[in-house]
């Protein structure tokens, strides 16, 4: 009887302490260059690793006639994982790295609808004809950059254990296609594999 009473009293006391401590929220600044993972899922450290590796690989190509500064059109990277991952973050950062290098030029495909809308507006007579932008002067792409992000996930088999492990493998394949010939002028990939475990029992 005494032990039951003691146990219950302890449980209630522990609940109160946990609730009190759980209420203390903290915030800290992270260094985006420092690799940080809370679980096995895709995160910003993965994005940075992918962008750094593929941007460096693209910058090292020496078969694309650099004197001409190739014009590239980026297509969205297909998300073939089982997570809702915004792959536009990857393409935006790769584009930024390449623009900063001064070796490539880019077509802003995302702004095409807005450009059309602006062209329609200007043609209606609201804008000074001398200041209207000329149509039919847009650049044509020398290459199309496209790719796919894929993942394979394996969970530990059900058995008696205190933690459950999950292994996730991500691969991002990127390729540069010459639209005139259909030839793949360059291709590379980044692979990431991670195992994470989490306790089966918690408070």
């Amino acid at each position: 009887m005494r032990s039951i009473l003691k146990g219950l009293t302890l449980a209630v006391a522990a609940s109160v302490v946990t609730l009190t401590l759980g209420g203390c929220a903290t915030t800290r600044t992270l260094d985006p260059n420092q690799e940080t993972h809370y679980d096995a899922n895709y995160d910003f450290s993965d994005k940075k690793k992918i962008v750094d590796k593929l941007a460096a690989s693209l910058l090292s190509i020496n078969t694309l006639s650099p004197e001409k500064k190739p014009i590239i059109l980026i297509y969205p990277i297909a998300n073939e994982t089982s997570e809702h991952i915004s792959t536009s973050g990857i393409t935006d950062d790769i584009r930024l790295a390449l623009i900063r290098s001064g070796k490539f030029r880019f077509i802003n495909e995302a702004q095409r609808t807005n450009i059309q809308r602006e062209a329609r507006y200007q043609s209606k007579g609201y804008v000074d004809p001398a200041q209207r932008f000329q149509q039919g002067k847009q650049l044509g792409a020398d290459y199309i950059l496209s790719g796919a992000l894929r993942s394979i996930e394996k969970k530990q088999q059900k058995q008696i254990r205190l933690t459950k492990k999950k292994m996730v493998y991500y691969s991002l394949n990127l390729e540069l296609t010459n639209p005139t010939t259909g030839e793949i002028a360059w291709a590379d990939k980044v692979e990431l594999a991670r195992e994470a475990s989490r306790p089966i029992i918690g408070w």
Binding site: R2, L5, A11, N79, I201
Partner: protein, 430 residues
Amino acid sequence: MIEPNPPLPGVAGVSPTSAQTNAGSRKSRRLLFVLLLLLLLGGCASMPNDGVRQAFLQGQPEAALAQLDQQEHSTRNALLELLERGLILHNLGKYEDSTKAFLKAEKKLDEWDYVSVSDQAKTLVTSDWAGIYKGEYSERLWIHSYQMMNYLLLGDPEKAAVEARMALKVLDGHGDSLKKDLFTRALIALSFESAGKYNDAFIEYRKLADLLPTEKLIARELYWTALRSGITSAAEKYRAMLSTSKMKTDPDELGEIIIFVAHGVLPQKQPADLLVAPDIRISFPQYPLVDTVKPRYIVEADGRRAQVEETTTLLLDVAREALHARGKQMLAKQAARASLKHNLAHELKKENEAAGQILSLLFFLLEEADTRGWSTLPETLSLLRIPLAPGTHDIVVTAKDGTPNGRKILQLDGVTIERGQRLFRKLRID
């Protein structure tokens, strides 16, 4: 050391000293206090979204949403609130907002993917109502079903394919209890197909074909996805089936209207009681034994009967099997709870008969089956695929669901379909 019992009226024996009696009484009171505190912490057994369900069933989804906004938020029922919200928003055609609610629900389920000691302790002393509702396996699957529908209706097949992969994870873990959900299987395949993942779609259509009376029913999809995947031998096999089935038109030349139809409302779980001793009651949830009407849909295009491929799931069948699959787990917990409650009351009775009796009665009354569940789900979900030649069409869909001569549920006038185009629509009928 066992404390001496207080003297019972009319019972002869050695009377304990006054100090011993006081000490025992104090301990009994402390025990009662601690237990009552736990019971209070546990909350009460009331359906969390009853008003929301009523408003939704009365055709007032906006009022149902308003009730969800006004009601007190609790962690225990947070998942249910998100599920009801997601479905109501889907029904209102607010697909973007619906996806947000369901994404939050998916996140919560991921966060709660562990055994909580505090939750187990609460539910062990009180009832399962006191714990966090983590959803039946069937409900976890249907989150992804609704997400797939939302993303397809929003014209984002890539995200629908992401949800399809999540749904496959649920099916991989609980496939046996969820195998009757043909609708979700068909939706997974359709999501892959719409995202251009033809090989994934072909694999899922193959799995679906194994669950159908004959694979001829989806020969068109099997042929099309095999062809696109470069599996020529399979494509030839299903092409041959097309020439003998009613689907004679070449899939390459067609457009398609796809309609998701939700019909009726899923009955809610009910408590079933079992008296294992005069003072011990075991209560468990079960679905009522009711007949589900499986509706049939007739489609007319331009005044003529159109070909339609229909895949329907009776949600009650799937929900019942998913609940049954949890049966052993529920039984083990019920046994542990009954034993703990019996021992606690028994120990208290030794010291104070009256207090022990009160506790025993309290435990008996509090033993209530956890009948919480996603209350706005329909009774059936159907996927209608209507292949049409490119051009402009007038479409009429009639439901044969027990009503005399059926009833017109959808009329689309002047719909223009292009070659290879898919138009998605959704319907909810009572």
